[in-house]
Symmetry: none
Subunit: 258 residues, 2 copies
């Protein structure tokens, strides 16, 4: 028997899966994103399935913990909200969501204490209308209509990815809030003073080398250089490298040319 779904994670329900290998691959895909609540409805080749175990390898514990049910209603008995993944939109009057919308909704429901399941149909055929009837909403991965063929484990992978992204607070508000370098703060940025001293170092040596010529353009050229150093958003380590490079070239020069 399966334990009840933890409030922190949705159950992934595989309906009438055929190949054990695909069940194993789905277990791997789930665990890649930290999910381990698998439920199986009437797997074709019975259960347990050695081919599933062989494919799952490191994710065997997902299979070990899987609940097996004779039909979909039994598998969903304790769930408050059910998403059915489907390749094509049918003539059913249910909301059709993207994975992103679905997993954002799942996150909100689970935060409110509800139990959520995501249902996947058998290889090739997909869910039947009778299965879909048990779902509250449909989820469709926005694949290329000219080449829509993703397999069961890939569909599980994408839903797992979206779940993790939404659960981690990704999605809508994401990306903002790091004033500065866009998404990823660089580690150990140089301070304004450090960049300024670097700019001085280069300016001094370039002055000596006659770089700022003709004189009436010198001020503009220096400003352009300062702009560059600050725009680059250098790390402290890079500032050290740039000092070292210049020092070495100049030292060599001072030493009497080649």
């Amino acid at each position: 028997m399966t334990s009840p779904i933890q409030l922190s994670d949705p159950a992934f329900v595989l309906v009438r899966p055929q190949m054990g290998e695909n069940i194993g691959a789905a277990a791997r895909a789930m665990l890649n994103f930290g999910l381990d609540r698998m439920r199986l409805v009437s797997p074709r080749d019975g259960w347990p399935n050695p081919a599933a175990a062989a494919m799952a390898s490191g994710a065997g514990r997902v299979l070990d913990g899987a609940g097996v049910f004779p039909d979909l209603p039994a598998a969903l008995a304790d769930c408050h909200y059910v998403f059915a993944t489907t390749a094509r939109v049918r003539g059913l009057h249910k909301p059709v969501l993207t994975p992103e919308e679905a997993m954002a909704r799942a996150r909100d429901m689970m935060a409110a204490g509800q139990r959520v399941a995501v249902v996947f149909g058998p290889e090739r055929a997909g869910l039947e209308n009778d299965d879909v009837a048990h779902a509250n909403a449909l989820v469709t991965v926005p694949v290329n209509p000219d080449f829509p063929s993703i397999n069961l484990a890939q569909c599980v992978l994408l839903m797992g990815y979206e779940w993790r992204r939404q659960a981690a607070g990704g999605g809508v508000a994401d990306g903002a809030g790091d004033g500065g370098r866009g998404g990823a703060a660089i580690p150990d940025p140089a301070s304004g003073g450090e960049v300024s001293r670097l700019a001085d170092h280069y300016e001094d040596e370039l002055e000596r080398a006659g770089f700022f010529f003709p004189p009436e353009k010198a001020a503009g050229m220096k400003q352009k250089l300062r702009n560059m150093w600050t725009r680059l958003a250098l790390t402290r380590a890079e500032v050290q490298i740039l000092h070292g490079m210049l020092r070495q070239i100049v030292r060599r020069k001072g030493g009497g040319g080649n």
Copy 2:
């Protein structure tokens, strides 16, 4: 030969892929999300590869159009911004982005007319530091640290999914209006080839000046420098300034010291 990347889609670059089956599976995953600009760097078993074609089946045209290159710099020569997918964050001072942040950034850059590539390492081993040195930013899929093993085609699938999601206007604007070179595309970025020539110029002169000392540390120092040049996301104008600075200092030195 490969045709230039269309402005509407990023190139997906597979570096030293081993099994033809995985190249074929990657082609399928790309086409699932409408991507068909594949580039291959030094595929282990040569090219074309019958095992790749067999696995790709309906996505064979992605393979037929793939560009094959002897090394990564050649594959990236026409690219303005390069994302490297990597399982672990290394000690490199480059931005580390989620797939979402990376593809949002790619979308903005491509909207500004820039060419973007996403680089994937070989099965198991992943990208080497020398490869990563050619990238402007890293992308890490936020997998379960206790079970992080996604394969090449799965990584391609997730990046393709995110690309399509962002290109369709999903997600939200990346990184907020960051002054600097963060999310927003910088104007007139230097191409990979231009940055590579700048790196060569500095490396040659520093070599002559005895900068790479002691010899056993030279390779690491050079890699560090390459990393810095690519990380800076230089504009074409900045590349010119940096060439000019070095030329002037060296010329002055050649002229016989002070």
